[in-house]
């Protein structure tokens, strides 16, 4: 929990307890605040939660184990397509989500191992190239597997995916409380996603301080030395790939249910890079940093979309720069300034794999 407190750097150091409450309040109240700006912002928040999950998963692979993965979005795709196959009219299957979501996670984990096995000996740039290729292969498969047998429905994607139904309660429909108040499904999705994020955070924090987390830290710093102290580096690297992929798979399944529609274009290389950018921006290897990075970089392009277009119209009378172009431009600028000013990210990771509470104390003492 102290890592969460660090998400607010100034308060987090002085008064971790207060900072923690602020974080909790923000997390719970976020959709209400977003609602003030319109429903579309609640939707953006929902997506932000999915990106947070992706960032947490990728951080496991890149930040903890030091394996640079540029094809991470493939696992998101595997999770999303698994959901689409098993819970949509496409194959006339409508399995319940509590079965489909774990299956998607399991397939993603399997995909992680499939990627991990041939790349065990690779590191750094070489690994990055192979994972990049892997991500593209998965996307291209999704794009082209409509011939000769239609499996993925090709570029058109799969439509009318079942929404999340929790204990017989369809959360894609507004919830009526009494006669007066109805709660929009966007809110419901937000809290479901938030629950998943909280669960992921707890899991990953436990992992980080476990034997597995220590082994990853060792492999990241020096693989030969890790072997020399008796770590089974092969299994640990495969575990990193598959566990990281699991988070991607779950996020993918949630995405498919939330969106109701999946198509290959959601899983392009740019998405992998966007998630990687989030964790680099936030602070690779630091859970709080990664979450803040994901939130910031999901919100930034949306703010642009809502501000840049009206602004350009007001000033120039026309839209000169497409928000999408601006997004890439500003993301790159953000990265460049980050590398110059805070090369380790917004909230840098500290050496400690163990006992994050010591990090807070140490920081305060500096």
């Amino acid at each position: 929990m102290n890592e969460l407190a660090l998400a607010i750097p100034w308060l987090g150091k002085r008064n971790p307890a207060a900072a923690r409450w602020v974080v909790v309040a923000l997390a719970v109240g976020a959709p209400l605040i977003a609602m003030l700006f319109g429903k579309s912002w609640v939707r953006i928040l929902d997506f932000a939660m999915l990106y947070v999950m992706l960032a947490i998963g990728l951080n496991l692979v890149v930040g903890f184990a030091g394996l640079l993965d540029l094809g991470y979005i493939a696992f998101y795709a595997v999770g999303a397509y698994t959901f689409a196959f098993l819970a949509s009219p496409h194959f006339e299957l409508h399995l319940p989500f509590w079965l489909v979501l774990p299956l998607g996670a399991a397939f993603a984990a399997l995909a992680g191992i499939i990627l991990g096995l041939p790349t065990l000996r690779l590191r750094g740039d070489y690994l990055a190239i192979v994972t990049l290729g892997f991500g593209e292969i998965v996307r291209i498969f999704m794009n082209n597997l409509n011939h000769p047998i239609n499996i993925t429905n090709g570029p058109q994607g799969i439509n009318m995916i079942d929404p999340l139904v929790l204990f017989g309660w369809d959360i894609s429909k507004p919830l009526k409380v009494g006669d007066e108040i109805t709660i929009n499904s966007l809110f419901l999705y937000y809290y479901v996603f938030l629950a998943c994020v909280v669960l992921s955070v707890i899991l990953v924090q436990r992992l980080q301080v476990s034997r597995v987390g220590r082994a990853w830290a060792a492999i990241r710093d020096d693989e030969l030395a890790a072997k020399a102290i008796g770590i089974n580096t092969r299994n640990m690297k495969l575990l990193a790939f598959s566990l990281g992929a699991t988070f991607g798979g779950v996020a993918g399944g949630l995405f498919a249910a939330f969106q109701g529609f999946v198509s290959p274009e959601s899983f392009s290389l740019m998405e992998s890079i966007a998630v990687l950018t989030m964790i680099v921006f936030g602070g690779m290897g630091n859970l709080a940093g990664v979450i803040v990075g994901a939130l910031a970089l999901t919100a930034l392009p949306e703010v642009l979309r809502h501000v840049a277009v009206p602004l350009q119209q007001a000033v120039f009378g026309q839209v000169l720069l497409d928000p999408e172009v601006l997004r890439m431009l500003l993301l790159s600028l953000a990265m460049i300034f980050m590398m110059l000013l805070r090369p380790a990210g917004l909230i840098p990771a500290y050496s400690r794999y163990s006992r994050p509470e010591l990090v807070v104390g140490k920081e305060a003492g500096r």
Binding site: A217, K227, A228, I229, T233, S351, R352
Partner: protein, 239 residues
């Protein structure tokens, strides 16, 4: 009569692809011995050591540890049998603290109380390290890093310690300190195989030594014998 040697290499060969770096070497270490393997750059010393530790596969020959062949045993299982490597260039975990580095050495151990006791033992052996427990290991000086690496290996309670060029890149005074540490480790009964380019120092410290040249062992003998050998003096001691 003679007991089984702790480690025995019989015609061991190690290759990188088609290139054979170690072309059939035989050597042995008895329990409690301090033996060094000296030779020029590229002679195959580090390769030999990595093959013994299991971080490299062998291409032929036999590798016996306590009389049993361990050629096929993966590196992490060799450590559990008491075979610890201090890799060349120190190989410490630069982003972890000194204490974390040391504790990593005990990664495979479950006897937590004994680990704490061993940690204390390492501290008395390496007082400099104890002063810097909470420092990030990457910020230590080269000599201190080497000591951390040795300390880490000791925490696995090795029976055979493989040291790969502990003197590399260190000032002569620091090297002497490192060798003092090695001597005290040996005094505790740990068998040591030391790979060194600093032939003079290595021969002075070890009971026996092997000289390696382009993948083969060309000379063997006691430290003192080799120190006096004119060929060794000419080739490695600059005379």
């Amino acid at each position: 009569m003679s007991a089984t040697p702790l480690l025995q290499l019989r015609d061991l060969r190690v290759a990188y692809g088609a290139i054979e770096a170690v072309k059939g070497i035989s050597l042995e270490l008895a329990h409690g011995e301090l033996v060094s393997l000296i030779g020029a750059n590229g002679a195959g010393k580090t390769t030999t050591l990595n093959a013994i530790a299991g971080t490299l596969g062998t291409a032929g020959g036999e590798l016996l540890y306590e009389g049993k062949g361990i050629e096929k045993l993966p590196a992490h299982l060799r450590l559990r049998r008491g075979l610890a490597l201090v890799p060349e260039g120190r190989g410490i975990f630069t982003r972890l603290t000194v204490e974390e580095n040391l504790r990593m050495g005990a990664y495979c151990r479950r006897d937590h109380d004994a680990v704490e006791a061993d940690l204390e033992r390492v501290f008395t052996m390496l007082p400099r390290v104890k002063e810097r427990l909470q420092q990030v290991a990457g910020t230590l000086s080269g000599g201190e890093q080497q000591m951390v690496a040795i300390g880490r290996a000791l925490l696995s309670r090795p029976r055979l310690l493989l040291l790969d060029e502990p003197s590399m890149g260190l000032a002569p005074l620091v090297v002497e300190k490192i060798f003092e540490v090695i001597r005290s480790v040996a005094a505790e009964g740990v068998t040591i195989l030391l790979v060194e380019q600093n032939a003079n120092l290595a021969l002075e410290f070890s009971q026996r030594a092997y000289v390696m040249e382009s993948g083969r062992i060309t000379l063997a003998g006691s430290g003192a014998e080799l120190l006096a050998d004119p060929k060794v003096r000419a080739a490695y001691l600059g005379e």
